[in-house]
Structure formats: structure tokens, C-alpha cells
């Protein structure tokens, strides 16, 4: 090392030793070489920059094309905003895919030009697109309010973004390229905002149309439903009339001819024949009662239960009901007792009240085993007439009591013991009691008998005046 230095010094000395002409000639040769090198370096640098610029331009041109495509798409969307709902969905999908393309282009842009300002720009743009995505999501979910709120917030971001772009611009080496970038990014931002607005408008229009359509559908559905209900009501009335007619007519024949035969009009009837025919008659009676019950229920349903407003002597009704049930009580080995106190007359329908009493007494007799007792009581309690039908039967479980007055409900024990009935009697009793402004209630415990209690108002109701007028 130590030696090198003197060698280098030697060479220097040698140059210094050259004559000035040679030195000048050497310098003259060196200058073009240096110039050429500089030129080559400049060319290379320029070429490199041009290449980067070209790549940037290509990217930007693509962004521009995408933007134009986006604009065309929005115009199309606006023009064809007829079948709106589907279109909104489709355009939102396309916007999303364009949005993905823009993402890729930005990627290319950021990798082709690594300077800080471009990176910031791309970052700002991405932040903006993130917000744009949130608006898209709201639009997609038709949360128009939320979308518009986010869109307003985006307005501020856009201003910041553009201000940022403007500041960057002053620091660019290649103004033209930057300007193009700013213009293009600005265009894209504007177009995206336009897309948002158009999307919002389309969504709003779609919602208005959908709401109008829904309203119309609802209106028609309601009209249709009303029509159906009227039809159903007519059908029900027709049904009631035809069931009434169609079932009663054959029953008239059955019972009429039975009567003829039993009276000996068709010849002598022996005891066994008489017994069998009496079974036929009993069952046709039962069928007739069932038809009557069903029609009664249909009348209740149709709101056509007619309750006469007459002066009714409850005591007479109760006595008659008990009297007519005596044969059945005797047949079943049951004691049937009446404990009636005088009560003022009530206003009501004598036939219906008798039906109510008959139903309760007949139930009590059916559900009380031989040796038991059925007591019918009548008394006044304040402004109410109280009728009780008490039996010493098997009682009704608490669960069954809850459903007792439901139509067609039959207690488990009634079904098990094959006690005849339709499950309509108590629902009819309830309808009659309530039709008189009264109540019906049950008190029972399993194994401890059952008491039905009816309360009817004793105060003459206003209908009296109307009925007698």
C-alpha cells in the first residue's frame, strides 16, 4: 500500500510532464466522450421515464375507459329504470366488479411509479373506495337513508382527496402526467359519486314503485279477501239452508214411515219388531237433534242467533225440564230433585232457555252413575236469577274444565266411557246464556261431582221496550 501512492504520484507527475498541446488534445477527446456518456445516460433516463409515464398513461387510460363505461352504465340504468328492483341489483353488481377492476389498476399504478406522492394518492383513493363500498352495501341492502348519510360524509372526503391531489400536483416533476392522473382520478371519483346518486335515485324509484305495487297488491288482496268472506258467508247460509233441508227431508220419511208401521197401519207389529223399530226411532231422533245442534252452531257463527225478548217464567222452564227428564233419571237409577224458589220473571227466549236447561240436565244424567243424584236449583241472588245443576258424577279435571265450553270438546272420560254426545251441548248452553246477557260457569273436582251455574239478569233489559214496541 505504501508503494502504491508513489506510483500514483508518479503517473500524475508524468501527466504534468506532458506538453500543453497534448493535454489540450486529451481534454478535447475527453469532452465528447463525457458528453456522449451524459447523453446516453440522459437518453436512458428519459427512456425509462417515458416508459414509466407510458405505463402510467396506459393505466390511467384504462381507468378512464372504465370510468366511461361506468358512466354509460349509469346512463343506461337511469334510462331503463323501469324494471327497477332487478336492475338496481344488477348494476350494483356491475359497479362492484368495475370497482374491483379499478382496484387492480390502482395496484398497477402504485407499482409503476414508486414515489411517495403517488403512494399517498393511491392510499387516499383506496380509503375513498372503502367508504364507497360502505355506501354500496347500504344501497344493496336498500338502506337508502344510511347510504345517503354515508354519501354526504363522502362528499367531505372527496374534497380532502382532491385538495390532497392538488397539493401533490405542485410537487410533481412531471406535471402533465400528474394532471392527467388528477383529472382521471377526479373523473373516476365524480363518476363513482354519480353512480351513487344514480343508484340512490334508482333505489328510491324502485322503492316507490315497489311500495306502490305492494300497496296495490295489498289492496287487491284485501278486496279479494272481503269478497271471499262474503262468498263464504253466503256459502255458509246456503249450507245451513241445504243441510237443514237435505237432512230433515229424509228424516221426515224415516220417522213418518216408522210412525205408520208402529201404529199398525202396515199390519200387526210383534214385540220384537216394535223393540227394534223403537231403536231405529231413537237413533233417528238423535240424528235430528244433532242436525239441530249443528244448525244452531252455524247460526251462532253467522251471528244469526235470534233471542226472543219475552217475559219468561224461569220456574216453569226449570220445572218442565226436570219433569221431562224424570223418565231418563228413573231409567238410569238416579234421583232427580228440584229445589226452586220463586224468582221474578226474566226477559228472554223461552224455547232457548228450555234448551239450555235440557242440555245441562241431560248432561248431568249422562255423566252420573246409577245410584247418584242430580239436583236442579233456582233462586234469586240480588239482580240475578241463578240456576244450578249439580250432580254426584265423576267430576271434571281442571284441564278439561278449561276447554269444556269449546265446541266439539269432549272430556277424556266421556270418550272413554263412550257417553253419547257431539260435544256441542255446552257450547250451545254458553251461547244461550250469553245471548241473554248472562253467564255460565262450572265448579267441579274429579270424583266430587260437578255443578253448572247459570246467572241471568233479572233487570228487564232495554230490548223489552223495543220488542214490545
Amino acid at each position: 500500500m505504501r508503494r502504491a501512492r508513489p506510483r500514483s504520484g508518479d503517473r500524475h507527475d508524468r501527466i504534468d510532464d506532458e506538453n500543453p498541446l497534448v493535454q489540450a488534445l486529451r481534454l478535447t477527446l475527453l469532452v465528447p466522450i463525457l458528453v456522449a456518456a451524459a447523453a446516453a445516460a440522459t437518453i436512458v433516463a428519459l427512456h425509462h421515464r417515458a416508459d414509466a409515464a407510458r405505463r402510467g398513461e396506459i393505466t390511467l387510460a384504462k381507468i378512464g375507459r372504465d370510468a366511461n363505461e361506468l358512466r354509460a352504465l349509469e346512463t343506461d340504468a337511469l334510462l331503463r329504470a323501469t324494471n327497477l328492483h332487478e336492475r338496481v341489483e344488477r348494476h350494483l353488481r356491475e359497479i362492484k366488479s368495475l370497482r374491483a377492476t379499478l382496484d387492480r389498476r390502482l395496484e398497477v399504478l402504485s407499482s409503476s411509479d414508486r414515489d411517495e406522492q403517488t403512494a399517498d394518492l393511491v392510499q387516499s383513493f383506496r380509503t375513498f373506495l372503502g367508504s364507497f363500498d360502505a355506501v354500496l352495501a347500504d344501497l344493496r341492502a336498500h338502506r337508502l337513508g344510511a347510504a345517503l348519510a354515508k354519501y354526504r360524509a363522502l362528499g367531505g372526503q372527496t374534497a380532502d382527496l382532491q385538495a390532497g391531489l392538488g397539493a401533490d400536483e405542485r410537487e410533481r416533476r412531471d406535471r402533465a402526467q400528474r394532471e392527467t392522473t388528477i383529472v382521471d382520478v377526479g373523473t373516476v371519483v365524480t363518476l363513482l359519486l354519480a353512480a351513487l346518486i344514480i343508484g340512490a335515485v334508482i333505489t328510491r324509484l324502485a322503492r316507490a314503485r315497489i311500495a306502490a305495487a305492494a300497496h296495490e297488491v295489498e289492496r287487491r288482496a284485501l278486496a279479494f279477501q272481503n269478497e271471499q268472506l262474503r262468498d263464504l258467508d253466503r256459502l255458509k247460509d246456503d249450507f245451513v239452508a241445504s243441510v237443514s233441508h237435505e237432512l230433515r227431508t229424509p228424516l221426515t220419511s224415516i220417522q213418518g214411515y216408522l210412525e205408520l208401521v208402529l201404529e199398525g197401519e202396515a199390519g200387526e207389529v210383534n214385540d220384537e219388531q216394535r223393540h227394534f223399530l223403537s231403536i231405529v226411532r231413537r237413533n233417528s231422533d238423535r240424528l235430528l237433534r244433532l242436525v239441530g245442534d249443528l244448525l244452531f252452531v252455524a247460526q251462532i257463527d253467522a251471528g244469526k242467533l235470534e233471542i226472543e225478548r219475552d217475559d219468561v217464567d224461569l220456574q216453569a222452564v226449570v220445572e218442565e225440564s226436570v219433569q221431562s227428564a224424570r223418565p231418563r233419571a228413573a231409567e238410569g237409577g238416579l234421583a232427580l230433585e228440584l229445589e226452586a224458589q220463586p224468582v221474578p220473571h226474566v226477559v228472554g227466549d223461552r224455547v232457548r232457555l228450555a234448551q239450555l236447561l235440557d242440555n245441562l240436565v241431560s248432561n248431568a244424567l249422562k255423566f252420573t252413575p246409577a245410584g247418584g243424584r242430580v239436583v236442579v236449583r233456582l233462586r234469586a241472588e240480588g239482580q240475578r236469577a241463578v240456576v244450578e245443576v249439580e250432580d254426584t258424577g265423576a267430576g271434571i279435571s281442571a284441564a278439561d274444565q278449561e276447554r269444556l265450553f269449546e265446541r266439539f270438546f269432549r272430556t277424556a272420560s266421556a270418550t272413554e266411557r263412550a257417553v253419547q254426545g257431539t260435544g256441542l251441548g255446552l257450547s250451545i248452553a254458553k251461547a244461550i246464556a250469553e245471548g241473554h246477557g248472562g253467564t255460565i260457569a262450572v265448579r267441579s273436582a274429579e270424583g266430587a261431582g260437578t255443578t253448572f251455574r247459570i246467572e241471568l239478569p233479572l233487570v228487564p233489559v232495554r230490548h223489552t221496550a223495543e220488542a214490545s214496541a
Partner: protein, 126 residues
């Protein structure tokens, strides 16, 4: 024997019921003509006015109520007593029957014996 056998018109679209009523009334000593619908009943009544008509309400072509109304419009038939047979339970039907000029009504199913009693009551009254 000096008095002629009373003629009774029975109209019902149900043949079994017609026969049943006819049987009962013939046994009771009446002469019976039968019609299976309202028009036929009206035609028979106009051709040969009966002493009494038993008309079903729900009949094809003309209802028993309409037949009653037409009978009341004609001088030859206006005094014929009418018993309506109704299978319908609505009180309004009964009211409509009386308004049309019916004298009595029976709800189906009715006892043939009861019908005979009503017929006898009306014809005896005259």
C-alpha cells in the same frame, strides 16, 4: 155420503214424503192429488181447485210460498187453505209463508198423524 170426499193437493219434490202424506190422508178418507214441483202443483190447482193444499216450501221451479201467492191471486183458488211444509228453521221463512197467505205450517220432520189432525181441523172449521 151426501157430501163429496174432500180433495187435497200434495206437492213435494220428495216422492217418499208425498207417498207418506198421501197414505195418511187417503186412510183418513180424503182424495189426494200429487205434484212433484211448484209449477205442476199450481197447474193441478187451477185445473181442479182442491179443498186444501199441502205444499213443501223448497220445491223446484216454484217454491211453496210462491205457489201460495199465485193461488191467492186467482179468484178460483184464493180461498183454498194452504199448509206449508218447511225443512228450514229460519223464522223468516215461516213469516214469509204467512205473508204469502198460508194458513198453517209444519216443520219437517213432522208426524203424519199431526198433519192429519191439522188438515181435519182446517176442513172441519169450514
Amino acid at each position: 155420503v151426501s157430501e163429496p170426499t174432500p180433495l187435497i193437493l200434495i206437492a213435494d219434490d220428495d216422492a217418499d214424503i208425498r207417498s207418506l202424506v198421501a197414505f195418511r190422508l187417503e186412510r183418513a178418507g180424503y182424495e189426494v192429488v200429487q205434484a212433484s214441483d211448484g209449477e205442476h202443483a199450481l197447474q193441478l190447482a187451477l185445473e181442479r181447485p182442491p179443498d186444501l193444499a199441502v205444499l213443501d216450501v223448497m220445491m223446484p221451479r216454484l217454491t211453496g210460498i210462491e205457489v201460495t201467492r199465485r193461488l191467492r191471486e186467482n179468484e178460483d183458488t184464493r180461498r183454498i187453505p194452504v199448509i206449508l211444509l218447511t225443512a228450514r228453521v229460519q223464522e223468516a221463512d215461516v213469516a214469509a209463508g204467512f205473508e204469502a197467505g198460508a194458513d198453517d205450517y209444519l216443520k219437517k220432520p213432522f208426524s203424519p198423524q199431526e198433519l192429519r189432525s191439522r188438515v181435519q181441523a182446517i176442513l172441519g172449521r169450514r
